[in-house]
Symmetry: D2
Subunit: 333 residues, 4 copies
């Protein structure tokens, strides 16, 4: 019974079907009929004209976005615990040509506008210090908190005041949308977001993420850099088809809701242990190593999060029985 | 009836089946049971211990290999018409940190040892000139010629004499093996190759290539750079499963043979028009634009190759009837 | 008696005096009173508002200029024998983040507009091929030819038609101005040049070159990259003072004329041996290795230029007697 | 009366004389007779065989050193207030190809071995996190503290245990040697330092620093990168001559002692205001903005260091009278 990570879950059957169905000769790269539908499909979802590119990994999506927003000699503000800082092996530096990540603090990996303001104020406006040029926030955050639209908008205002491009790492965007009930538009471009890594892999996709540009001209550069970084697939239709399958009938929302619901059940079972509010599909619990060992002995698999904490992650296909069992097991510790 | 490129063909059904079959929760990245089989499976094929990494695109495979063989301040020798020079958007520079491609000539995109020797001799041994550190050859070449094992070995000797790491871009390695009848081992490490981009996508795969390191220690660096360039898939099992399906029962060889056979049929139909010998699955023909237009009017699709030439590419599932029709149509021009 | 290279010559005494004279406490970096004069001084020389930055080496000047004109994923067109290709250790790739040098042919290292046009035409307008974004010419060229203003203008037109930024490597700009009798303005911005590496080191400077931006906004990025590449000197006044000393009383022109005159004397002595017309301070002569040895035995020092050719370079302080002796020695071979 | 920075001071007359004296034709780059003496001169000073390269700026020295010690995908540990992090415009990322700076805390910009150990322990040993490969310390630190040899040795032990190359930014190495009374050898290679940026510009040089490699093989790569970053001067003799002049008669030590003595005088005048012990040529004082304004009104020039602090920097030629006046002025605030 694995609660290790949503990125290890199986893909949704509809996604596998879409791959199989798109498996026929068509124009290579992104000239095929599936890829050609992406702009329209995502524009409808976001209620504005967007450019939508498939990429295969979240790291690629994040870093291509950042590379359009920040020059090699600029800095990207982000949370100290951001995925781009901690889990991408320095990829942002590769894609941007060496841009610096300036690390900010914030409860639950969430940034506040005043933190952004203060960070900008600390930088001398001279050639000796790396000037901030972009800001990246994660929604839902690495600790499972979801920004509300108003919170993103406040961050977006700060970004604009300081001339920062705004990127949202939406590896768990579905979970944030499902939790907040906000529209995708309100959580992004209406709040000042320039580019969104719209994650599908953690939400039932196999190997397709959408990179969405609300400032559409940025996509011109991104398509070049996608190729230059080896991310232009010749049979790109298999990625486009996955995305379309996830959008179809709002499967992405349905999956996000299921994962969130499973997380809530576990949160309910252990309200006193919660390290962070549960606003997506991650549950961080205070737990001694003995307790953790006891759970593992019962067949549960999960991540130790430093000393005295564990992380449980649910997914679109978290098994109901397993969730119930784990909830019970935690409650009875 | 498309003869445009093998990279646009459908994937083999066995590959799609393997993706579906591997679609279950397992350890993320390359910790799953499929990925863990790759070293052994390719070691058996190559009759020596190798490290085998999945990557999704040929560009990624080539550039990761080159980045392990050449420092940022070194040069990579390659043919003027090499894919890494002409069709990868400068990706080698991104992955290596700016290494230079030094372009060499050679009939049919094939390099000769003396050309390599001469290129090395031209470089002054000082800090002002970029020193060659690696050599990349393509087998089969971009013009559909296949290196024999003895030819690779002669190149390998030249590389060793000048301290060059040797990379083989095997986007069409299956076609070269099928045409020459040489063993994979003889065409690679026994001939001095350090790293091979073993292509599957053009040969029936969907989005999985194998990056093979014969100097196994190079793989340690490559796995870091794979992640850093955004090419480490969380559900990597879907790539590993494709490779294993292609190796199973030597499907890769069967596919290569089929594509080669289709090319030979067309070559036989137009012996006087051949620009290059047909030693893989590509056929380059002299043809006026009027003739090309006539073929297109009959429903055939292909690439103009400069002025007065066309390129026909066959694949593992080139339609027999279409091949016969095109052969006849060319013969009767 | 050394005719090896102008870059090894002594600096002009006025330059050394200027360094000594500027050796007093002032604002660091480029905030001092000397540095603050550069824009005005060069604007007057060029008859238009320019931004002028000191840098210490020609490589730095060239590469900073190119980095403002070409993105990491673009190509820079230049002659096959250009200094940026052959003698800068790959520095353009470092400064631009991996831009590609596309090598063109041309008599005497001089480019023609039609060569530039043809090079642009050869590139497919897709994401697979690196798109040209800049063009670099050297004046005087690496073989001592000088572009006339009309020739630069024709190149400039071609550059503009294809959206290429135009850089001039003027390591021997003084020699070109002196030879052609054209104004600095006519040879540069009036002919479409965006940025000029205005060389002084080969012309009597110690370690100061001027990087001139005619598109002034480019300088904003260049000053950041100058610092980021370690080229912002804390006592920059010593560089600025050198440039001002060279401009003072047109010392740079006087030095250029002297070097050219010495070259002409040697050219006159060996009209039948000339490989290229002598239009600056370099003389390329056909010469057997026996003849070269004979000259060396008489105490002359110079560069073999491949087989059967030698290169003689004069400088602002080439010794008249040595020049006369060498001219006589060549004439009597 | 300026106490703004030592990097704005005049160069020592002996340095200017050396430049003038070396101003004659010699072999270009570092083939001249001055440059050829550096290895021997510094080997004697350090009591072991070293390779010594001239470079013109501290940023270049630091970043060339780091680029030999850390691959593009590695991390460099340093103090949060290190010059390489705060004042070099991201140059380490340019030179290393994107290595990450991991920021550590420590009183007075000084690192402790246990801090290094803890930082290494925090990094998961997987491909997702950037692995530490180098460690950079500054001696004297950015806050004017000097590491003792035993402290460096403890750091060096920690570095070795974790496979980190050890770099010392010695922009004020002379001040540290003068203050501690330790030998250059004890403060560097005997304590595990692999490469030292030996600063001269802040200590009376004009534009020459020495980059010292105790692991001599690293210099082979550094000389290539020096050229590739535009830092190989054609008249390098002017840099080498400066270094030799500074070594001659231990002028560098004499200058360091003078600067330190001036700082001590001011420290003595304001013992209660000291933010840090004064162990080099920098004095950080607590001071209200009114007090600072009062000093400025008396003609003193210095840096505000955040709110409520100022920084005074002395140099080899700090004027005795000015130092006395400022000391008195502070004492009577």
């Amino acid at each position: 019974m694995r609660f290790f990570s949503d990125n290890a879950a199986a893909a949704h059957p509809a996604v596998i079907d879409a791959i199989a169905e798109s498996n026929r000769l068509d124009t290579a790269y992104d000239g095929d009929s599936w890829s050609q539908c992406l702009d329209a499909a995502f524009s409808e979802l976001f209620e504005t004209d967007v450019r939508a590119l498939w990429v295969a990994t979240g790291t690629a999506a994040n870093c291509l976005a950042l590379a359009t927003l920040c020059p090699s000699y600029g800095a990207i503000l982000c949370h100290r615990d951001a995925h781009i800082e901690n889990d991408e092996a320095g990829a942002p530096a590769l894609f941007t040509g060496g841009a610096k990540l300036t690390l900010l603090d914030g409860e639950g990996a969430k940034l506040l506008p005043e933190t952004v303001e203060a960070a900008c104020a600390r930088v001398r406006k001279d050639v000796h210090q790396v000037q901030p040029r972009a800001l990246s926030i994660t929604n839902a955050t690495e600790y499972g908190l979801s920004y509300r639209a108003s919170e993103v908008a406040a961050i977006g205002d700060a970004a604009r005041r300081h001339g920062l491009g705004l990127h949202m790492d939406g590896a768990r965007f579905a979970n944030a949308v499902a939790f907040t009930g906000e529209s995708p538009a309100n959580l992004t471009w209406r709040a000042g977001v320039d580019a969104l890594s719209f994650g599908f892999v953690k939400n039932g996709g196999l190997n397709a993420e959408a990179l969405i540009f609300f400032r559409r001209e940025l996509a011109d550069e991104a398509v070049v850099m996608r190729k230059r970084s080896g991310h232009l697939f010749s049979k790109g239709r298999s990625l486009a088809a996955q995305l379309l399958a996830m959008l179809d009938g709002d499967l992405w929302m349905e999956n996000g809701r299921k994962a969130n619901a499973a997380a809530q059940r576990m949160a309910t079972a252990a309200p006193d242990r919660l390290v962070h509010p549960v606003e997506a599909n991650e549950v961080f619990l205070r737990m001694t190593s003995d307790e953790a060992a006891a759970l593992r002995a019962q067949g549960f698999d999960f991540y130790d999060w430093g000393v005295g904490e564990i992380r449980l992650v649910t997914s679109w296909n978290s098994d109901d029985t397993a969730v119930a069992k784990l909830s019970a097991a935690i409650a009875s510790l």
